[in-house]
């Protein structure tokens, strides 16, 4: 390892330990790592934003795509939020982005998030394999009872109450799968962090193995 690499490895290791100290309690060391992390995220975000504006707006605009002056103006209007009297003008870029967001989402969400799932939930049941058909039936029951839980215009009593209660059991099982998947993912990050501390920081940069 070069001297600069050893130094930066020490920086990374110390910052890692500073964040880990939050498990004990909020303290000055954690606070240093917090402020370093926030500064780095803001710096990196600013840099990539500047780069993106340059490559997708300024360069093509200078090469003759004159329509790009519109997003440039709308983009600059975002900063008017900081002004005392013209803050309202920052709503123009906001509402343009909202319109684009709605347009891109509203069309494809029908197929991608609703009809596509209805189609596959029904179609999966009509298969030759009994085990798969019964399993698909369980998906259907989970789907209907979960959807019934989200009905707002009727009190959850009687038949709807039973369905919503079953739905809650399916919902909790699903939450638990997500909790488990997230926990294993965090465990992977903790293991990677300790692998770095042990194999790179201690073994390589301290012991030189």
């Amino acid at each position: 390892m070069t001297p600069i690499e050893v130094f930066m490895t020490w920086v990374a290791a110390i910052l890692t330990l500073m964040v880990l100290s939050f498990l004990w309690k909020e303290n000055k060391f954690y606070r240093i790592a917090e402020h370093v992390g926030v500064g780095a995220a803001a710096g990196h975000g600013t840099l990539t934003a500047i780069n993106s504006i340059q490559t997708s707006c300024l360069n093509p605009l200078l090469k003759g795509q004159l329509l790009l002056v519109i997003p440039l103006i709308l983009g600059v209007m975002v900063f008017l939020r900081l002004s005392k009297n013209y803050g309202w003008m920052s709503r123009y870029p906001m509402m343009f982005m909202t319109g684009t967001g709605i347009g891109v989402m509203l069309g494809a969400i029908m197929e991608g998030q609703i009809i596509g799932l209805l189609k596959v939930t029904v179609a999966d049941i009509f298969v030759d394999n009994t085990f798969l058909a019964v399993s698909a039936l369980i998906v259907l029951i989970g789907f209907i009872t979960t959807l019934s839980y989200f009905i707002f215009t009727k009190e959850h009593t009687g038949g709807l109450g039973i369905s919503a209660r079953i739905g809650r059991v399916f919902i909790m099982a699903s939450f638990s799968c997500n909790w488990s998947a997230e926990m294993i993912y965090y465990l992977g990050l903790i293991v990677s962090a300790f692998m770095f501390l042990i194999n790179v920081w201690i073994k390589q940069s301290i012991l030189g193995i």
């Binding site: 964040v19 939050f22 909020e26 954690y30 606070r31 790592a33 917090e34 992390g37 926030v38 780095a40 995220a41 803001a42 990196h44 975000g45 975002v78 939020r81 803050g87 920052s90 709503r91 870029p93 906001m94 982005m97 909202t98 684009t100 967001g101 891109v104 989402m105 509203l106 069309g107 029908m110 197929e111 998030q113 609703i114 009809i115 209805l118 189609k119 939930t121 029904v122 179609a123 049941i125 009509f126 259907l140 789907f143 209907i144 959807l147 839980y149 989200f150 009905i151 707002f152 215009t153 009727k154 959850h156 919902i171 699903s174 939450f175 638990s176 997500n178 909790w179 997230e182 965090y186």
Partner: protein, 263 residues
């Protein structure tokens, strides 16, 4: 053909929802009767939580999540729902004189709207002098730094009530746990199904997925906005009808069902 092949059924559903939403808004504006909406405990808990902050002399913290500012894809709905709740919380805090801290999302596309709403809320309560841009904190465009910054703020500035509604990623677990450990009341939910487990396990009052849209509507107190919940239920009944009809048709001929729904 006027409609692209394979998207007729999609357009049919969109038309049903568009008409239903419009009709319900008109009925609301004309004062006509609307379907009743069942109670969502977490909606009332916001007022209770802010009241508790007054008693404890603590601060109220509101955040809409790392992606709680993205004006695109399904985040958009969560962002607008969280803006409705932010307006409700900001008005209550202005009225009761409770310190409010709003953490701006790490994807800050809606940042001007967030400041506009908090400023507007304080103005409508006659407390514009209490508004200060320092109430709105930005922690950089990474959800890790976002969670770190909020945890530090919550612990150091004596948070008594932590309200997290919007589009959350892994950041919500750290924030909810930090608030829980200092005894703050946790209220919140997200439309992102994958992260709902954190709210179900760590929040005192949680809104499950679509309930954040309902909360956003209910706190607005506007009948036209609340009528949207009835339109959503029409969509669900339509989905259940498609499922039941689909089962019947598929029992006879699955390809027929697939052709019909794939129009």
């Amino acid at each position: 053909m006027l409609v692209r092949t394979g998207r007729i059924f999609d357009l049919l559903l969109l038309a049903i929802l568009a008409i239903t939403t419009y009709v319900y808004i008109k009925r609301a504006e004309e004062g006509k009767k609307l379907p009743p909406i069942r109670k969502i405990p977490a909606v009332d808990a916001m007022e209770e939580g802010i009241g508790r902050a007054v008693e404890k002399g603590g601060m109220v913290h509101f955040a809409s999540g790392g992606s709680g500012g993205r004006l695109s894809s399904e985040y958009l709905g969560m962002v607008i729902a969280s803006l409705n709740c932010l307006e409700h919380v900001a008005k209550l805090c202005a009225r009761l004189g409770v310190p409010l801290v709003v953490s701006a999302p790490s994807r800050p596309e809606a940042l001007p709207l967030i400041e506009g709403i908090v400023r507007d809320s304080y103005r409508s309560e006659g407390k514009i002098e209490d508004f200060n841009r320092d109430m709105i904190r930005f922690y950089g465009s990474d959800t890790g730094a976002y969670a770190q910054g909020i945890c530090g703020t919550i612990v150091r500035e004596n948070c008594a009530c932590n309200i997290n509604i919007g589009a959350w990623h892994t950041d919500c677990l750290l924030v909810l746990a930090a608030a829980h450990d200092i005894g703050a009341m946790n209220i919140g939910g997200t439309g992102r199904w994958i992260m709902m487990y954190a709210f179900a396990m760590l929040a005192d009052f949680s809104m499950i997925a679509e309930e954040i849209y309902a909360a956003g509507a209910l706190v607005s107190g506007d009948r036209g906005v609340i009528s949207g919940l009835a339109a959503e239920d029409i969509g669900k009944f339509f989905a259940l009808a498609v499922i039941i009809l689909g089962l019947i048709v598929s029992a006879i001929s699955l390809p027929t069902f697939l052709v019909f729904i794939g129009m």
